[in-house]
């Protein structure tokens, strides 16, 4: 019989054991009777020889090895009974734990989805990202460097350890039936899907013969695009789509949820068909390369191979590849800097969980003290100490499990709203879901909190001196218990202080940031990306005319005050950083100071309300062929020329612009380009503006793909969108306005994270405050309850109610002050963490403590006042007779 059978056939085992013992005794007795012993005496002797059948049976049961399960089952039933007996206690404990576990599970679900889950491709650990690397490249600022298309083709051909695939981001206009639509597509090498290990939902992937210039244009549709344009009909295969004026035949459809380089493309086209010039050169490096290790190959081998090929290329193509090397890294999801925010929140939620657990622990402790006699009786009846501890732990673990189950339920409801409330878009939001990791997390957290925090009360199970406990009235509070209670209250208060101060800091920061001047007038400004008709992009003359037409038509729309076009606009909507120098002797690239460069039409400063400090704005005279001019901001004026006064008429050399030098014709106020929170700490703050009209022809097409229009309106900006769309259809009716926002929205969004953190920390701090107050109330009510006889004597001897209240309050005030002391120290440390992780965070100030801590002290005193008042109303006669 194996272990399971022994466990499940318990009754049968018992029966057989009984039978075996009886057989033994009877056999022995009958032999003795045969020797002439009287039957009664024979039975007595047989029993003596065996040594107490019940004891032998008990030892046989132990030999089965199923004992602990049976004990556990017994404890479990007992624990359930105990909880049912005190439903109030059980409900408070379970709800408290559920809140703690639920909140931390929500946070963990998000952390798990965004940071921990592997990429959604088969065998993700065999996938590798290949990046270029040059000395001058600042990967922190620009992200990892991609690879030039010819370099990519060489690697793809040469590599023995990697199968490489490449893709580039692109955008364009889909026209034809219905309104023209701006789409984001990716151009991919034909083997991309096989490298990733993804099967298409329908149709076929690109073939090698599709992946070369001159082949018939084919496209794979993204699942969402397919749903939107073809309502998920299968006849999309073989249909055609007009992208940037060119007809593509649809050959396949991606599976639902397919993501490439962390976005879902609308369409995919073969990379090899693109004849753009920047793909022919080894200078620009637009291709994102993903590769799969061939079977048996390791990442180190791949890296070695890449370095070798890189050195060959460097020798062969000195002007483009001389200092360029290539590195292979495990492919990871790109989630930006979300990680630190998520860990911060998980930490904060952990504090709430700790407070919840401490609360439950102090509740359990109070109960353990009042159950001391019960446990002592059990001890006297033969239960070992270990057995008693186990029984207590079973109870608290059960509490933990109930709380955890409820908490997981809360988390299941809570994580979707959390993701929806995330400021901006949460990267990998589609990966955020309950999975086995989350359940394991919740299970371990709830079991751990149940067991860990049940441990202190459980260890109070009597060890020796049962007699004393049994004799004592059961009302005396032992010193150690009071100390433990105070420790719980003090830690709860300290944790609550940390959360309150953090919330206070965030609140102050947000107040400070919203009061900052963005450097422009954000009211009534509409900004929108704009894609010209694909048809005009081929010819620079037509491009200039098209933009002119856009400006003129938009100006005519009723309610529009002024219009401008611009390549990057404030609140971190894109940036173009360039090195500059104030004299003709320009040092090498690495030593040049950096500035933000913005291409604008003359009205831009009026549209944005950027104040003029010196000189003039741009005018119609700043055209192609005229002297190149710039308008600079105060920061650049200070950096380059030591102030606005000296700047006018000076020249700036900006080698990467490809023309110049530029004459400074005006100085304007600084604009908080990086957003309200981040601009003060940004690395590059200097700004200059140059006229779009002076942009050389060779850049015109690329820039036209980047331009936005900015409109200052007399009425609510968003109400102008439709009339602008109607007025700007373009020559062929396929001109598109997309990503329409107001500057007010953008400025608000630049503080969204801070606002979100403040909201969450506010909630956490509120929870902490409530939990800590419940904790302090519970502990004081309990401790005071234990002191009723003592208080009765005091009152009988003439103590006035006021002094009794003071007696209790003094006790709690001591705990509150110590808690606040520890909490303040911890809050200083936590404040430094916040300061490092949150942009624009104000340093901790005394005022933050002065404002937040009294809230806690008053709440805690109020919570202790109730038991104090009750104590002062003790009737001495009843109190003294109680025993």
């Amino acid at each position: 019989m194996n272990w399971w059978q022994r466990l499940l056939r318990r009754n049968k085992m018992e029966e057989q054991l009984e039978k075996e013992m009886r057989f033994h005794l009877e056999q022995h007795a009958s032999e003795l009777i045969a020797c002439g012993v009287s039957p009664a005496e024979a039975r007595r002797r047989a029993r003596m020889a065996l040594g107490g059948p019940e004891q032998v049976k008990e030892e046989c049961r132990d030999a089965r090895g199923t004992r602990w399960v049976e004990d556990f089952w017994q404890d479990l039933r007992y624990a359930t009974r105990m909880l049912r007996q005190r439903p109030g206690f059980a409900a408070v404990a379970i709800l408290t734990l559920a809140l703690g576990v639920g909140a931390s599970t929500v946070m963990f679900t998000v952390v798990n989805g965004v940071l921990l889950r592997p990429l959604p491709y088969p065998q993700p650990d065999r996938l590798v990202a290949v990046h270029g690397h040059t000395e001058t490249w600042n990967a922190k600022l620009y992200g990892e460097q991609n690879v030039a298309y010819p370099d990519f083709l060489d690697y793809k051909r040469e590599s023995r350890s990697l199968t490489l695939a490449g893709s580039i981001f692109n955008d364009g206009t889909v026209s034809g039936s219905g309104d023209p639509e701006h789409v984001e597509f990716q151009e991919i090498s034909s083997n991309l899907f096989s490298v990733l290990g993804v099967n298409l939902a329908q149709g076929r992937v690109f073939l090698p013969e599709d992946d070369r210039s001159g082949a018939a244009p084919v496209a794979i549709l993204g699942y969402t695009f397919w749903q939107r344009h073809f309502s998920g009909r299968a006849d999309a295969l073989g249909a055609s789509v007009t992208l940037d004026g060119k007809l593509y035949t649809v050959v396949g459809i991606t599976p639902a949820g397919f993501r490439l380089r962390d976005t879902e493309p609308d369409l995919l086209t073969p990379l090899g068909q693109d004849t753009a010039k920047f793909l022919q050169s080894r200078g620009p490096h637009p291709v994102g390369v993903v590769a799969r290790l061939k079977s048996g190959a390791t990442l180190a081998q791949a890296q070695e191979e890449l370095s070798l090929i890189g050195r060959h290329l460097a020798e062969q193509f000195k002007d483009t590849n001389a200092d360029r090397s290539f590195k292979a890294e495990q492919l990871r999801p790109q989630v930006g800097n979300v990680g630190s925010t998520l860990w911060l929140l998980l930490g904060a939620v952990g504090l709430v969980l700790l407070i919840a657990c401490t609360n439950v622990a102090s509740l359990l402790l109070a109960r353990a003290v009042s159950r001391e006699r019960e446990l002592a009786v059990r001890g006297a009846l033969g239960a070992g100490r270990g057995r008693l501890v186990r029984q207590c732990l079973t109870e608290s673990a059960l509490l933990g499990l109930f709380g955890g189950a409820l908490g997981v339920g809360l988390a299941a409801l809570g994580f979707q709203p959390f993701v929806a409330f995330w400021p901006g878009t949460l990267p990998r939001a589609e990966e955020v879901q309950l999975d086995w990791r989350v359940l394991l997390f919740a299970l371990s957290v709830s079991l751990a909190s149940g067991i860990l925090f049940g441990l202190a009360p459980a260890l109070r199970a009597p060890a020796g001196e049962l007699e004393q406990v049994l004799r004592a009235s059961g009302r005396s509070v032992v010193g150690s218990s009071r100390r433990l209670h105070s420790t719980f209250v003090i830690s709860e208060l300290a944790l609550a202080v940390v959360l309150l101060v953090a919330a206070g800091m965030l609140g102050r920061t947000l107040l400070h940031l919203t009061s900052l001047d963005p450097g422009l007038n954000i009211r009534n400004v509409l900004v929108s990306r704009m894609a010209l008709s694909p048809g005009v992009l081929a010819d620079t003359g037509r491009i200039r005319a098209a933009w002119q037409d856009v400006l003129e038509r938009a100006r005519r729309v009723p309610g529009v005050q002024s219009v401008a076009i611009v390549d990057t606009f404030p609140m971190r909507e894109g940036n173009n950083t360039l090195g500059y120098w104030p004299t003709a002797v320009v040092p090498p690239e690495k030593e040049r100071p950096l500035t933000l460069a913005t291409s604008v039409s003359p009205e831009y400063f009026n549209v944005m309300g950027i104040p003029l400090r010196q000189g003039r704005f741009f005018g119609e005279q700043d055209r192609m062929g005229g002297e190149p001019v710039v308008v600079i901001d105060e920061v650049l004026a200070q950096q380059a020329f030591g102030g606005g006064q000296n700047a006018l008429g000076k020249r700036l050399w900006v080698p990467d612009m490809g023309y110049g030098p530029f004459v400074v014709v005006g100085v304007v106020g600084h604009v908080r380009h990086w957003g309200l929170a981040a601009d003060d700490q940004a690395q590059i703050r200097a700004q200059f503006y140059y006229p779009f009209a002076q942009l050389p022809d060779k850049y015109l097409r690329r820039w036209s793909e980047l331009m936005s229009i900015a409109v200052r309106t007399e009425i609510a900006p968003l109400s102008e969108v439709e009339s602008l769309r109607r007025e700007l259809p373009g020559a062929a009716g396929d001109q598109v306005l997309y990503e329409v926002r107001t500057m007010e929205q953008l400025a608000g969004d630049s503080l969204a994270l801070q606002r979100f953190l403040l909201l969450l920390f506010g909630i956490f701090a509120g929870l902490a405050l409530v939990l800590a107050c419940i904790g302090i109330y519970g502990v004081l009510a309990y401790l005071t309850g234990q002191r009723v006889p003592e208080i009765g004597i005091r009152i009988a001897l003439g103590a006035r109610p006021g002094s009794v209240v003071w007696l209790v309050l003094r006790q709690s005030l001591g705990m509150i002050l110590i808690g606040v002391g520890f909490g303040t120290a911890a809050a200083l440390a936590a404040g430094r963490v916040l300061h490092r992780l949150v942009e624009g965070m104000q340093p901790i100030e005394v005022s933050t403590f002065v404002l937040t801590i009294p809230v806690l002290v008053v709440a805690a005193l109020f919570a202790s006042f109730l038991p104090a008042r009750r104590a002062s109303r003790v009737d001495p006669v009843i109190a003294l007779r109680q025993d």
């Binding site: 019989m1 022994r6 057989q16 039978k19 075996e20 013992m21 057989f23 033994h24 009877e26 056999q27 022995h28 020889a49 065996l50 040594g51 107490g52 004891q55 032998v56 030892e59 046989c60 132990d62 030999a63 089965r64 090895g65």
Partner: protein, 114 residues
């Protein structure tokens, strides 16, 4: 009658295995056999016999079934399993090595005194 000494630690299992190896036998008979064979020299506590039997059964060294005795009563008969036989041989061998070694040491100490 000489006072009986306690059974050395761990030898009860070995003795039980040896007795059961002689053929299927019930608990009472094992107790009798042990007492007879050990000629009342060592004390075999009947109380620890059954827990030991059950432990050996759970470890798969013994197996048991219910059969009738000669007197027509139902009793639990223990038999040795293959695993039990291997265990018995191993333990018996190690027991012999141990006693030999102990005997040798005892002789040595006399020789050393000379």
């Amino acid at each position: 009658m000489q006072p009986k000494s306690d059974l050395p630690q761990g030898t009860l299992d070995l003795l039980i295995l040896k007795v059961v190896a002689l053929g299927p036998v019930h608990g009472y008979a094992i107790a009798q056999r042990l007492e007879q064979v050990s000629r009342h020299v060592v004390q075999v506590p009947q109380g620890s016999l059954y827990p030991a039997l059950h432990r050996l059964e759970n470890r798969g060294l013994l197996t048991a079934d219910w059969k009738e005795t000669e007197t027509g009563r139902e009793a639990k008969f223990y038999r040795l399993t293959g695993k039990g036989r291997t265990q018995l041989e191993a333990e018996a061998a190690s027991w012999e090595r141990l006693t030999e070694a102990v005997a040798l040491i005892l002789k040595l100490s006399e020789g050393g005194a000379k």
